[in-house]
Amino acid sequence: MEKNNPKGYLYLLPAFLFLGIFLVYPLMDVFVYSFQENYNFASQTYTGVGIYNFRYVLRDPFFLQALKNTFLLVIITVPLSTGLALLISLCLSSIEKLRDFFQTVFFLPYVTNTLAVGLVFMILFKKTPYSDGFMNLLLNAFGFASVDFLSGPYWAKMLVLCLYTVWIVMPFKILILTSALASVSQQYHNAARVDGASRGRIFWRITLPMISPSLFYLVITGFIGAFKAYSDAVALFGIDLNAAGMNTIVGFVYDMLYGRSGGYPSYASAAAVILFAIVLTITCINLLVSKKHVHYI
């Protein structure tokens, strides 16, 4: 039959061009940039090769702040959203009526523009001289004092950011977990009941191990996604995240590249490479941990 059909390369050409110019070349280039010292945008010259960029970035207080913010965001939102999604999916899979309705509603945040709905969250939490905003109204109703969520204490800002992030990532997690739960045959559930297992035990001993691959997938993508948080922070705190003290690592990369403090692709590259290294490390750790606890069938 057709052994070597050179037309194959022709069909691949467009993909090659796009991927080569905008994915493969930049990937190699970013490592080059990160080691070029004092790279100048306009003249495209640099003075030396070394690890100065990394040392600079790691000493930049804005980067350290971004690092802290990002880690906090990851540590809070990944377990919270995964656990909450599991709870909601379990509830969803044990009803029949209205299931479609709830699934549709729960998926809505996925198809919304992060920036646009972020504005709604902003006005819900925002405290202005004219009004304390809806969230503070709620707090007052429960007897708490008003909090300036968006330009007040650090914990308040972090709280809003975490809440919004959870709100945004939930649809995907609920969807994945609901379909994982649906793929666990009712038969195992029945068998466990006949074997005398209580609901709690069925969940811990049967359901959870059987959906563990999906759960693990969510934890990994959750970690990666949360480490790359940026748009949600911009939506809440505006484009100048450094000023708000709420920058993220990705935000730091873009700010270094462009904007008020921009024009330093070398520093941006170094920060991006550091981010990549962190994500890679965490993913590897996840993979190692999962070997023990995830049941692939």
Partner: protein
């Protein structure tokens, strides 16, 4: 063992569980829907009445549409909309063209090094966009493509994942069909167009919808590459409105803009609910 007690406990527990279940589902539904309600509500409050509410009201008795007017007249929202539409349509079309051809080559044609190249393609899926954005920014700037559709579109076209998804689908079409078409004297391209694409239409629709959502919401790249309002996409536009538009404090008008921007995708979602959810379950993420 007291059977009656067990039965009573079981009934009580089931009742309690049902209540808890409903409570969890309804509360999350409220949490999800409330921001949407709030945005609609605020968008129909008049500027004066919104600012006079020290305690925000949960409903309004005198809805007004004037904010929608100002959303289009005071800021170039129509322009952002048009830009996004052009960007989305061209990017998605180019993506489909590139993806279909590549998937066809990988699944149907035999050429030297095919499997090796495909493995290399797959490994590209792991590259985070954040790493390549920097060089792309430099490249596009050097090519003087800032503030142009070309600069917006070109780096956004490729998606290795979609090639993979479509290739898997193409591969499921039995070889016999291809040989039969060959015997009938059909060219490769005609076979792709007349047989493979119609058979795999569901997957193609899925990746189209996913790409449209991705384009409509894209923010990072457009923000880096455009600073001229004439080339703003909706995400960048809404950010611009937030920072500078409507004299900063006209929240109702801002919310009207948000409603207008959110509507197309929500409508698309409600129309293709099943397809979108199945597609996302197969491989969408939101990064």
């Amino acid at each position: 063992m007291d059977y009656e007690q067990i039965e009573k406990n079981a009934r009580r527990r089931k009742c309690l569980r049902d209540i808890l279940l409903g409570l969890v589902l309804c509360s999350w539904a409220v949490i999800v829907l409330f921001p949407f309600y709030w945005m609609l509500l605020t968008s129909v409050k008049s500027y004066g009445s919104y600012n006079s509410e020290f305690i925000p009201r949960l409903f309004t008795l005198s809805p007004t549409l004037e904010n929608y007017g100002s959303a289009f007249s005071q800021v170039p929202l129509g322009r952002y909309f048009l830009n996004t539409l052009v960007f989305t349509v061209i990017t998605t079309a180019l993506m489909l063209f590139v993806t279909v051809l590549a998937a066809f080559a990988f699944s149907r044609l035999r050429f030297r090094g095919r499997d090796l190249i495909f493995t290399a393609f797959l490994s590209l899926m792991m590259i985070p966009t954040e790493l390549v954005v920097i060089t792309n920014f430099v490249t596009v700037t050097d090519l003087n493509l800032r503030n142009s559709f070309l600069g917006l579109i070109l780096p956004s076209v490729t998606s290795v994942f979609y090639i993979y998804l479509l290739k898997e689908n193409f591969s499921q079409i039995p070889d016999e069909l291809y040989y039969a078409a060959k015997v009938d004297g059909t060219s490769d391209f005609k076979y792709l167009w007349k047989v493979m694409i119609p058979i795999c239409q569901p997957t193609i629709v899925t990746i189209t919808i996913l790409k449209v959502i991705e384009c409509w919401n894209s923010f990072v790249w457009p923000r880096l590459i455009t600073d001229d309002q004439n080339y703003f996409l909706v995400s960048v536009g809404i950010q611009e409105i937030r920072e500078n538009g409507f004299g900063r404090e006209n929240i109702p008008a801002m919310m009207a803009a948000v409603v207008v921007i959110s509507l197309p995708l929500i409508a698309l979602f409600l129309l293709f609910r099943k397809k979108i959810m199945a597609g996302v379950a197969r491989g969408g993420t939101k990064g």
